[in-house]
Symmetry: D2
Amino acid sequence: MTYRGDPIYLEDLLFVPEYSLIEQSLHARKGATTTNGDGFGVGWYAGRERPGLFREVLPAWNDGNLRELSHQIMSPLFFAHVRASTGTETMRANCHPFAVENWMFMHNGQIGGYEKIRRAIDNALSDTLYTHRPGTTDSEAIFLHLLSNGLDVDPCGAMEATIRSIEDMARQADVEEPFRMTAAISDGKRLYAARYSTDPEPPSLYYRQDEIGTLIASEPFGTVTDGWRPVKANTFLHCSEDGNIRVQPLMI
Amino acid sequence: MTYRGDPIYLEDLLFVPEYSLIEQSLHARKGATTTNGDGFGVGWYAGRERPGLFREVLPAWNDGNLRELSHQIMSPLFFAHVRASTGTETMRANCHPFAVENWMFMHNGQIGGYEKIRRAIDNALSDTLYTHRPGTTDSEAIFLHLLSNGLDVDPCGAMEATIRSIEDMARQADVEEPFRMTAAISDGKRLYAARYSTDPEPPSLYYRQDEIGTLIASEPFGTVTDGWRPVKANTFLHCSEDGNIRVQPLMI
Amino acid sequence: MTYRGDPIYLEDLLFVPEYSLIEQSLHARKGATTTNGDGFGVGWYAGRERPGLFREVLPAWNDGNLRELSHQIMSPLFFAHVRASTGTETMRANCHPFAVENWMFMHNGQIGGYEKIRRAIDNALSDTLYTHRPGTTDSEAIFLHLLSNGLDVDPCGAMEATIRSIEDMARQADVEEPFRMTAAISDGKRLYAARYSTDPEPPSLYYRQDEIGTLIASEPFGTVTDGWRPVKANTFLHCSEDGNIRVQPLMI
Amino acid sequence: MTYRGDPIYLEDLLFVPEYSLIEQSLHARKGATTTNGDGFGVGWYAGRERPGLFREVLPAWNDGNLRELSHQIMSPLFFAHVRASTGTETMRANCHPFAVENWMFMHNGQIGGYEKIRRAIDNALSDTLYTHRPGTTDSEAIFLHLLSNGLDVDPCGAMEATIRSIEDMARQADVEEPFRMTAAISDGKRLYAARYSTDPEPPSLYYRQDEIGTLIASEPFGTVTDGWRPVKANTFLHCSEDGNIRVQPLMI
């Protein structure tokens, strides 16, 4: 879930709305798994160049620190993520969002056949990104590839180049599983999102705008249920500093 | 879930069976809540006078240490518990099972209106039990009352006395919510279980016996689904050292 | 360690100074124990009525979330605490600071013979404070007694009454160990500190003022080592909203 | 610390001896850092092919589960490790010991300039070892190289090959810092240890034998302080199934 708009308290996003992310972490309706209890993370921009991150291996619904911080932290730009691991042990370094300098990233979905192409994906990274990679997830690998592929110059182009190179590696390794993903990205000012899949079944992604701001989320939430619009499959969404949304197709 | 019988590895109880406790922790079918991700605990007897305990605040399905220990620990008598907190923060000292000397206890359900009678319940404890109480749950309070009420001499009588005194305190405090409970208790040799409620809706409890041993659980599990029998409401179950089961009514 | 003054980032207190609290948690010079690795906590006021709390069972020197939050959180009033447990297991609910409504409290030292008088201390609390007490430490008990004894009307008087009643209970239980304490208290505007012991050896406490603000700490720290003044034994320190300090004797 | 001999309870190694590992974790005398509070791990063989592991990010002196398990777990072959991180966040996957199939490994020291040669070290691994590597430490990398270099056929030769290849990579990357290490290795029957450094300052390593068994440790401990003998620099120690010790030089 991502928010960009007037500064608000994080709790107004996480705990107050009906069918909030916290509630979703217990019972997601549209996700592949019905419980997202394998760690969580929040990120926000608050006057510092790099975003703040708070990530924990406990379920989001059960962390007293998250409740405390959500009551105190105010920001115009929030990311929040709940994780359902697919087997590996939960550790903070594998919890979303991820941050490098002023960039923040989070991700749903997975690189099909990641185990077969993990080394190829890692080796395509620069020395610096390789060495300072704290975690071990495919999600973080996608983020680092975006940074290598010019995220700061052309975000949509960086996403296209990243998808192409990962699908190339998968083809060369005879991977049959699809690469499925939704992603949210920010530099602290602009907000981007992508929805893509090799096959016709990308994870769900919705957005909603009102006079307060823009919400992007895997599933609609809140009391006002209308106004949520699906992000089309295989598109890239730009949200400018003044909240204008533009959606363009991903040319893979 | 409780096991008493031939020595087995804990993983054969926790991870191998179909619809195991681990799977139940993600999606319980009969419980009041559908996710039990707020900590877990296992207890076992293995040649020491007091039982071993391993309790953790992470979800059971996601703890690498539990998986490791379950592969190594062999015992003829296991307790295992997954917790769904009803609001308070999860901490190890509040995770089941609880142990005092050779006794082990775990519990499902709750003392209705606990907040109103917590002080009365605490004050009925002996100085020693009061001072050395590590946690803050109603479950632990029930255990300590059982110990005060002669658990080592007459387990069923101790349970009856405990229920009566807690219901007395509730009446005096004008509590309207029922006291609902299932419990498992052991001294390392014998195994006891209780199912009770002030109203007609005690939590579910089942048992099953075969040539290997006896299982008691909130919900049936495993490949062989027949043979599970419900423990009747308001009864106390004795399982002797040689596996004989006797069920007697709780006289409240 | 407590700060009151111009708004600063928490990291400027915790990580930047020479011989900072983080470094002290590894190697304290004046404390009873030389490592304070059993959990930590920070508290701050930032535009909300009640203070923010972030408490964790890990050593402070080793928590990535603390580092992240310290870079982002700005406040004119910080509390920070590192804990060396004296035997009990570490849990968040036992980490300082503690907060009730707009009040925040933290503590060094201990109630001598706490185990003997724990029930008496608990029973002197109001029903509401008793029932909603999340932790089990003597420190939290002192805080709740201060609140019961009129902290919002006369902080020094509340401290005197609390010390007197605890020492009374200790005398009645033939406790010989002294009640030793330093404490920091705030309502979000004013700052208070106390240093006391039944015997002539209260824990150390220092304060320092410059044009930026006021620091109170168990041990002097920072590059500028002069200017630190000891708080006299058995006194109560008031720091007003405009930074004026007044020290008065505790009349026990 | 490593033990091989008559089956004993882990607590007799960890908690009972004077100046035990637990005490050492608070105040090491010979280590580079004086507090080892950044996680711990224990490993043991108990009738299963692969060893049991219990690893945690808390300080060893403060973990209730470790105390419980140490009272219950009996084995003829224990590894125990306390960690002082040099900057990276603590996570279980980075805590020693490490295990692959029946092999167990733990390590003190570090690969000088690891950041410069991390990719080269990783790329020298087989696909399988690369893909299934759960952690990110240089220690785990050494273990995986030993496995690639024939640990099961010639343990000392595998160690020599591993040291040579790592020092080669370091030379090629103009690393000036030395590769310093002590290590303990077991297949469940035999026990091996190594002490090595590129420069003349390898970490300390001692062993001691009596009628009960063999101890190998970074620092002598226990009531009986005599009998501890230093393992010579740049040697490899074999301890056979019947406890015979043979030390041979590492030919680098």
